[in-house]
Amino acid sequence: MKKIIVGLKRVIDYNVRVRVKSDHSGVEKDGVKMSINPFDEIALEEALRIKEKGLADEIIVVSIGSDDCQQQLRTGLAMGADRAILVESSQELYPLTLSKVLHELVKDEQPMIVLLGKQAIDNDNNQVGQMLAALWDRPQATFASEININENTATVTREVDSGLETIEIDLPAVITADLRLNEPRYVKLPDIMKAKKKPLNKVSYDEIVNSNTSDLAPSLTESPPHREKGIMVESVPELVNELKNKGLL
């Protein structure tokens, strides 16, 4: 059976204006709307399209975190994933540990592809896909804007600084989704009802990996320096004058 594992991270919704806590211990999360990391949603959409083309048999969504992640997994099931795995953990886990958890699941499930978002919009780390590929000793195709699945390979176009790079990778492999890979579908109400019946398996993080590689510790969270509002000019000559005075023309 050809499986695709998709990671879904629960993050503060991208429309929420994030605020640093007054004691600098992190950002305000109480009563804040949480959603699937947008890049992960794109990854899931792509996995579903691959399955709809008959090129994969089963889509498994995975989340690692608190029990609340069930909400995001249920949304993933409503989008069309076949089953879900919640790896429960009460502590904040770092990318290396997350990759180790995913690697254990990969050993179990033997997927054809692990499809992840290129980064989560909370910590903006952009690490887990690459780390999983390293631990698994398999190819990585990061920042994908187009994926074509062949017999035992995939052709992936990647958004890189100099343009669009196309690579061919042997499967199994890790692919991470960039913004322009697709536009995720909307979830319809009947699908939400159906999703309630789909299997959601909970496992404890301790049963999977026995250590959290927490060699990093955040010590202080601050607001970024504020850029002051400048001046308004009324005309182009005035603008050119200002730029000249600043030595920019």
Binding site: N126, Q130, G163, E165, I231, V240
Partner: protein, 316 residues
Amino acid sequence: MNKILIIAEHDGNEINSSTLKCVSCAKDIESANIDIVICAQDGANITKAASKIDHINSVILIDNEANENMIAAVIAPQIISMSDEYTHIFGPSTTFGKDLMPRIAALLNVNQISDIMEVINAYEFKRPIYAGNAIVSIKTSADKKIVGTIRTASFQDVQANNSAEIHNHEISIDLPTHTRFKSLQTGESDRPDLQTAKKVVSGGRALGSEANFEIIYQLADTMNAGAGASRAAVDAGYVPNEMQVGQTGKIIAPDLYLAIGISGAIQHLTGIKDAGTIVAINKDEEAPIFEIADIGLVGDLFDVIPELEAEIKNQN
């Protein structure tokens, strides 16, 4: 002593300036001893150029035909093979470094510090999270290697008046062949590179079409500036993706940034926060871009741009 290895980014001919930014960051670490490693095919010229970079001790060349296309899965094990003596391993936070560095970190069984924007000390760094809406200080443990990517917009270039030693490093390990380069499609342009240009002119969705974007290019050429775009303009298909400025595109820090017909979504502002002077030209006086612009002008871009271009030509 802190021994720091910087993985050079290059295109086969030239060192990318992102490498200079990495050196600039590394030199902020106390008693830093900095080496640059170049993975390349026929890399002698690049290596010679790199040896001129200030603040570095030596340049190490790994010349190997497998390095022709700089594939992360191929480069990572080569770096591991020479990583023993180093306390820190840095690469740029460009798509090259973002792809490669976590692979190295995982093979070394350490976490990575992404997007380092400030050195507090050898084991403590600042980095942005939540698209730059918060800055976090991260402490690492001194007994492990530190792998990090450097946020290039946060650091100045270093000069190149050095003559560092050059060494060759031979690789005797098998390298993977599971990842194969096919092609690279780049926009042909003689304009200054967006990421290093001192001046950048960017257009937004208000341009309305690919054809209309021509006036942005003309203004950029008149000013000898790089040309960029908002995510909206890229999504609308007016310009190729590599022109995107913002959190999911390029994060830049030119001396002068002209945002034309760009409303100023948070994710765009994240990409230009470190610019010297931001000029906003927009029809909508309520556009959020004016909140952070140093100089704002309310007006129709189709009137303003030709006038601006004419004025600048007059000045020259």
